[in-house]
């Protein structure tokens, strides 16, 4: 493949944005959606061609590269608009455009509310803009171009969360997302600045050059384990906590569910939120130089995974469960890359893109079918009405809980196993001897159990049991607040075809990286071998204890048994004994824990009280009202009136309206001044 063709990948969706924007209201849902889907589809074709070129060359072509023009060149800084497709970015390109195209197709069916007829063109323009920005993020060959994509996807997220902008809460959710991301970007930018200047005369922001420089001269950033490289890595990771919704900046993602559901699937599950993981993988050679930073990443990842899972246990809004589930799964990915299992992290990123996009789209189908009902307490038994949606959702459920053979099983297992066997020295947050890997593994395993619980709960409450909505065949007649809606029904092929396609991927996605213990020959560790060149420079820093390999099977077995139990509990609670849910819950869980989970452990309230509130109040009532108006202005006015007893006379003079006279006086004054120099000299 001619590398110049790489430019087409981001160019197609950009073209889509332009065409749709030019057509604007003239483009109907079908036209705008058709254009948008076709553009992402074309982009996907080129992406897969790129991937195939790299795969089929068996390492002969390590990467494709094309440069459009020099973007910024000043001082030491030389940055191009240039695209890079190495194995890592090629895989990402395929995920973004492949899953993206399916979600675009689905959206044509989903966005059929007549109330939106005038604005669907906007929706599709934003969606294409998003794909464009996401491709810049994964294909940019330097920090700044990546950052264009990084913030660009944030912009699209902002626009799409607030797509129904007449709802103030939705608009606020979009703003919250952008600002939380900006907090991360603040950290990210400082990391970039620090890295840039650390390199001295060899300052560069281009990834390839940076890698060469750091591999040859690690002392530039203080050498392995140095304070400087730790600071840089942590600052960059700070950016990832914003974009990828980790502690402490995850708070925006649950609110982001205000956007249309396909947006949640594409942006807030499959692609944008994985940017942080991609960034760390892209810079693996830098991160591994700091075992402390790696330890922080792994720990934050594990804690986020656990924390978000505890919140997902009690949510009743189907999208909120999935949102926290996403935060939790992203935590797994950070756990993976944090312990140095970059391939495993990327693998989980891919499989998660399949099954989480599917879960969101399936939830969207349910919501669409139930006329914007998102509360699971009003669902139930939907499998009967929506066979395709139900079956595909069940596939996704099996994938996410790690049912053997499904995609999530392989990727999650690999992360957990590599966490267990990681050398403590490479995640030396608490020193090189501290058994952090084992502790993180326990957290990860417990989270797997929680995941199985809340996902089973979601599936059982939604698709099994009896329909609890107001519009089933049985009680449609008795329904007091009915809107004349038909009973739940299967969605149109535009929507279920993408569901089916994703279900196949969620089922078989594991094939791309089968574990070594399966007798799979050539297929074994496919992704691992393909990505190996990208992570080659970090390999010397990492080791995984092979001696424990005999433990791998038993550990997997234990996890599976626990997961099985975790599935049975909700089955018993919600299906077998579907009594008063509140009462059952009260018998089982202390009230404080329940309310904590339901209220997301009051983190939003904490931030409001500890940070946002004080800033707002302080700005208005202290900085503005006191510092500005009284201290500074008071001083100025004081000086002014002290200097000139004439000031009252001045203002009377001007208020008389004789400004022209004053102008003359002033002009004369200026003239005298000039003349005075002349004479004075």
């Amino acid at each position: 493949m001619n590398p110049a063709l790489l430019s087409l990948v981001p160019l197609f969706p950009l073209l889509g944005v332009i065409v749709i924007a030019l057509l604007n209201r003239r483009a109907s849902r079908l036209v705008a959606g058709g254009i948008a889907t076709a553009m992402v589809g074309l982009s996907a074709l080129v992406s897969f061609w790129t991937l195939w070129t790299l795969v089929s060359s068996h390492g002969q072509t390590p990467m494709l590269y094309t440069r459009l023009y020099q973007w910024i060149s000043v001082g030491h800084l030389h940055v191009d608009i240039a695209f890079l497709a190495d194995p890592l970015s090629a895989v990402m390109m395929c995920v973004v455009t492949g899953v993206g195209a399916l979600i675009h197709l689905y959206s044509i069916g989903y966005m059929d509310d007549p109330a939106d007829a005038d604005s669907t063109w906007r929706f599709f323009a934003y969606m294409n803009l998003f794909v464009f920005a996401m491709l810049l993020l994964v294909m940019g060959d330097n920090f700044l171009l990546m950052f264009v994509g990084w913030e660009g996807v944030g912009l699209c997220s902002y626009l799409l969360i607030g797509f129904w902008y007449t709802n103030t809460d939705f608009a606020k959710a979009g703003k919250k997302a952008f600002i939380a991301n900006r907090v991360g970007d603040f950290s990210f930018l400082l990391g970039v600045f620090m890295l840039f200047w650390a390199l001295g005369d060899q300052a560069t922001l281009t990834f390839a050059q940076l890698q060469d420089t750091l591999v040859a001269q690690p002392q530039l950033v203080g050498g392995s384990g140095g304070t400087l490289v730790t600071a840089i890595a942590l600052l960059l990771f700070g950016g990832a906590t914003g974009k990828s919704a980790q502690i402490p900046l995850f708070v925006w993602l649950p609110d982001a569910m205000a956007g249309p559901t396909p947006v949640s699937a594409l942006i807030h599950a499959a692609t944008m939120v994985t940017s942080g993981i991609y960034m760390i993988c892209r810079l693996n050679f830098l991160f591994v130089m700091s075992p402390v930073a790696m330890g922080v990443i792994a720990t934050i990842g594990a804690l986020t995974a656990f924390f978000a899972a505890t919140v997902a246990l009690t949510q009743t809004d189907i999208k909120k469960v999935l949102a926290y589930s996403t935060v939790s799964q992203l935590g797994y990915m950070f756990l993976g890359v944090g312990v140095g299992a970059f391939t495993a992290g990327t693998f989980h990123l891919i499989t998660h893109a399949f099954f989480k996009a599917l879960l969101f789209l399936g939830a969207g189908a349910v919501i669409h079918s139930l006329h914007h009902q998102q509360d699971m307490r009003h669902m139930g038994g939907l499998l009967k009405y929506m066979k395709i949606t139900g079956v595909t959702m069940i596939v996704a459920w099996l994938a996410i809980i790690g049912f053997p053979g499904f995609s999530g099983f392989f990727s999650k297992d690999e992360i957990l196993w590599l966490t267990f066997s990681a050398n403590p020295a490479q995640i030396a947050l608490f020193g090189p001897e501290f058994p952090l890997p084992k502790i993180l593994w326990i957290i990860g395993a417990v989270t797997a159990v929680l995941t199985a619980f809340y996902m089973s709960r979601l599936i059982f409450l939604t698709f099994f049991g009896d329909y609890r909505g107001g519009h089933s065949d049985a009680d449609a007649a008795a329904d007091g607040h009915g809107h004349g809606h038909a009973p739940p029904h299967e969605v149109s092929p535009l929507m279920w075809v993408p569901l089916a396609a994703l279900a196949l991927l969620a089922m078989g996605g594991g094939l791309i990286n089968l574990p070594h213990w399966l007798p799979s020959g050539e297929m074994s560790g496919g992704l691992h071998h393909f990505l190996a060149p990208v992570f080659a420079n970090s390999a010397p820093y990492l080791s995984f204890d092979g001696a424990d390999e005999s433990l791998e099977m038993p550990i997997m077995g234990i996890t599976l048994v626990m997961v099985f139990i975790a599935v049975m509990v909700p089955w018993f609670l919600y299906l077998k004994k579907p009594g008063d849910l509140d009462e059952t819950r009260r018998e089982l869980v202390p009230d404080l824990l329940y309310r904590g989970s339901l209220n997301k452990w009051w983190i939003d309230e904490l931030y409001q009280a500890a940070i946002i509130g004080p800033i707002l109040v302080g700005s208005r009532h202290f900085l503005w009202a006191i510092v500005d108006a009284q201290l500074i202005d008071g001083a100025v006015n004081g000086v002014a009136s002290a200097m000139s007893g004439l000031s009252s006379g001045y203002s009377r003079f001007i208020q008389d309206g004789r400004v022209q006279t004053y102008a003359l006086v002033l002009a004369a004054g200026a003239a005298v001044l000039v003349f005075a120099f002349a004479v004075g000299g």
Binding site: I72, V74, G75, W150, K175, G618, V636, S651, V659
Partner: protein, 511 residues
Amino acid sequence: MNHLLSLVTFLPLIGALVVFVSPKGTAKWLALAVSLLTFVVSVPLWFLYDPAAHGLAGWETFQLVDGPYPWIADLGISYTVGIDGISLLLVLLTTLLTPLVIYSSMSSIHKKVGQYMGFMLILETAMLGSFVALDTFLFYVFWELMLIPMYFIIGVWGGPNRVYAALKFFIYTLVGSLLMLIAIVALYVFHFQQFGFWSASILDLYNVALPFRTEALLFAAFVLAFAIKVPMFPLHTWLPDAHVQAPTGGSVILAGVMLKLGTYGFLRFAMPLFPQATHEYGGVIAGLAAIGIVYGALVAMAQDDMKKLVAYSSVSHMGVIMLGLFALNTEGVSGSVYQMLNHGLSTGALFLLVGIIYERRHTREIAEYGGLATSMPKYSFVLLVVAFSSIGLPGLNGFIGEALSLLGAFHTHPVATVVGTSGVIFGAVYMLWMVQRVVFGPLTIEANKTMPDLTGREIAYLAPILVLIVVMGVAPGPILAKLEPSVDRLLVQVNSQVDLLAQPDVAGGQR
């Protein structure tokens, strides 16, 4: 070609004389024609200025020089104008914004239209003159000349509290100017003492070498004058009052161009004239700049009045520019100058946008709006683009200037830059909050439901700015290329002299 710069500079003034005496109906069109002509005449400057031909010292650092023509020959005061890459861009910013402002003012100014337009044109000459003057006294005359038309634009065509605002503006600026004048005269005398002839030429004054203490004093006087103009925290309180009271056109010019004269003053006068002091006190100024970034943004957050919000956002943005300047490296200073252009465009556009809804509703209270995206989709789109330009979204112009300024400054003043970089958060907070309250949400207020969207004329004067916002973000190359030799020359002057003087024998041997 020799007189091209002078032509550009004085064309508006000549036009103003005619505009003043023209009848109301003709005056505004005449003023527009004059300002457009000035723009057209100024465009060739871009092509004639050749960065490759940039010399490293003396007259070769300036191009298109007109003069020196003896003005007060015995005193060495001359009329000399010329440009380098930095002033070139600021001149073009001025000639571009002025016609847009005049065009936009046609519907908002109803009394004494001729005089308003005339003052605008005088102001343009004064601003252009300040950017191109290479003689210190000539610069001072233009600098002072700026004050008068702006004083009247605020004082006559301004809001209810215009007199207070105009007077505050006037006194603040005048205090600074007078100090600067004293410093100029002192420098001029020192030059005579050292070289035996009188000269006010900036290039001659660059050669004056001073003992540190003297240099520090004169530096302080210049800094005060320019810091008020910028304005830097804590000398900024004239700005919100002036902006709120000024008519839209006045605000656009004030924020778009006049504030840049403060930062331009730093890089043309204060820094190269006093390199030792620049290094010695650079940290203090960078610190104040960083405080200004955060302070301006936080106070902007607290505003209920759109114009005041934009005014305080200027304090914040100008802080970024100052921080970049005092980075004293190519990245930072180039970014800083780039940011001057960006701020001129985006803040200018923000004031125009506030003016547009003010004309329709006669209020600037944020709470009076909401849901405009429904009734004014085009307006909302433009506001969103400009807001993101102001926030520094990569891909748009603001990012290039902001990122380069901060990147450069991080090297020189890491702590101040960490504080200043937090502006990327607060900037997003106040701007997006304002956008949310103005254009999103339901249309609740009756009067907003029938607000007409942008007119053709409004689109016409916003479009050039929007195009530049995008083009300057995607392709900053040509502008940065014009800048770099001039920035490097400035840095050689600021940095190498210090290295020289840092050697004890040379420093001791000065006087």
